[in-house]
C-alpha cells in the first residue's frame, strides 16, 4: 500500500536528538544525516509534489534539496529549527524550478490512496451535494491540480502549506521569510482564485 504523503505539524521528536543528529551531520556523519532525511522525507517530498503536481520532478527536487542541505549544513546557524531551514531550502529550490519551467508544466499525478474512499469529506465531495455528480475522485484530482497550477508560485505555496500540509500561519511566515499578514492576505487571495477555478465542483455556500 502506498504511503500517505500528508503531513501536519513537525513530528514530536525530542529536540535534543535532532540537535545531536544535526551536529553529527555537520561533522560529515552520513548515518546521522540519513536519520534526518528519513524523518523529513515525506513532508519535503509532499510539499514539492503538491507544488509541481509531478512525481518525477518532486523526486528530483526533494533529493536535491536534501543534498543541498547537507552541503550547506556548515552555514546552518541554528537561528531557526532544522525543520524550518530545510523547508526553506526545498521551497526556494522548487520556486526557482517552477519559474524556469514557466508555462511548461506537465502533470504526473500520484494515485489516490485507499483511505480516500473512506474519508467523509471525500464521500461528501462525490455525493449528490456536488453539482457535478458524475465527477469521480480522479477527475476531481485532475481539476484540483490544474487549478493549483494556475496560481502564482507564492500563492500556491501558501495554499499547499496551510490547507494541505497543515502548517500554521506563523510557521509559513518563517519558511517564506515574510510576515504573518502577508501570509494571510496571500492565502485569502489564493483561495478566492481557487474557488473561481473550481466553482463547478464546489458546493455553493
Amino acid at each position: 500500500m502506498a504511503e500517505p504523503v500528508s503531513s501536519s505539524e513537525p513530528e514530536p521528536s525530542a529536540p535534543v536528538d535532532e540537535d545531536e543528529l544535526v551536529r553529527g551531520a555537520r561533522r560529515g556523519d552520513l548515518a546521522a544525516y540519513d536519520e534526518l532525511v528519513k524523518r523529513y522525507q515525506q513532508r519535503i517530498y509532499a510539499t514539492i509534489y503538491h507544488m509541481t503536481s509531478n512525481h518525477e520532478d518532486a523526486n528530483d527536487l526533494a533529493q536535491e534539496a536534501f543534498i543541498k542541505a547537507f552541503q550547506a549544513l556548515k552555514s546552518f546557524k541554528g537561528g531557526s529549527s532544522f525543520y524550518t531551514w530545510l523547508y526553506r531550502i526545498a521551497v526556494n529550490k522548487t520556486i526557482n524550478f517552477l519559474k524556469q519551467r514557466k508555462n511548461r508544466t506537465h502533470m504526473s499525478l500520484n494515485d489516490i490512496d485507499f483511505n480516500a474512499e473512506h474519508d467523509p469529506d471525500m464521500m461528501a465531495l462525490i455525493s449528490e451535494q456536488t453539482p457535478r455528480r458524475a465527477a469521480g475522485l480522479t477527475e476531481l484530482q485532475e481539476k484540483l491540480n490544474a487549478a493549483l497550477l494556475k496560481l502564482s508560485e507564492h500563492h500556491r505555496l501558501v495554499v499547499v502549506l496551510h490547507d494541505v500540509q497543515g502548517l500554521s500561519h506563523e510557521e509559513i511566515a518563517k519558511v517564506m521569510e515574510c510576515n504573518v499578514g502577508t501570509v494571510r492576505s496571500r492565502l485569502f487571495y489564493a483561495r478566492q482564485q481557487m474557488q473561481g477555478f473550481l466553482a463547478d465542483y464546489l458546493k455553493p455556500t
Binding site: 502506498a2 500528508s6 512525481h55 552541503q71 494515485d111 489516490i112 469529506d121 494571510r184 485569502f188 483561495r191
Partner: protein, 162 residues
Amino acid sequence: MNENENNFESLRRLLALKRHEAPPPGYFENFSAQVRARIRAGDAQTESISDQLPWLIRLMSAFEAKPAFAGAFAGALCLLLVFGIVFAERPDVAPQPLLQTAQASSPLAMAAPANLNSMPMEQPAFIPISSTNPVFNAQSPDSLFASQGAAVQTVDFTLPGN
C-alpha cells in the same frame, strides 16, 4: 477571518483530497539511500576534480565567497573579447612600417645596408601581407626581370607580301 474560513470550507474539503495522493509503494524505503548515494557520488566527484584541477576549485570557491570578484573576472573576460574583436576587424596592417620592421629584423638587411641603396628600388613597394604572401619578401617586384637580365628585342610585324 472566521467568516472567511467558513466561506472556504468546501474548498478546504476539496483540497484535503491532495493529502490522499501517494507516491508508488515502497518509494520512501529507498529515498534516503538514494540521497546518501548522491552525496557520496558528489563528494567523490568533487575530490576527483580537486585532485586534478586544484586551481579551478580555488577559483570557484573565490567566486562563491566574493561575488564582486566573479563580476570583475567576467568584466575582464568581456573586455578581452571586445579587444579581440576590434583587432580582428582592423585592416591587415600598415605595409610600410611592417616592411621596415621586416627589413630591420632581417639578417641580410643588417649585413649589407649599402647594397640595398644601390638596388633599383626607388619607391617602397606595397606588399600585401597575407598567409600566401609572407612578410619576408626580400625582392622588390620591380627588380624581378632585371635580375634575370632579360634582353629586349623589337618585333617586326611587316608581312612578306607588303
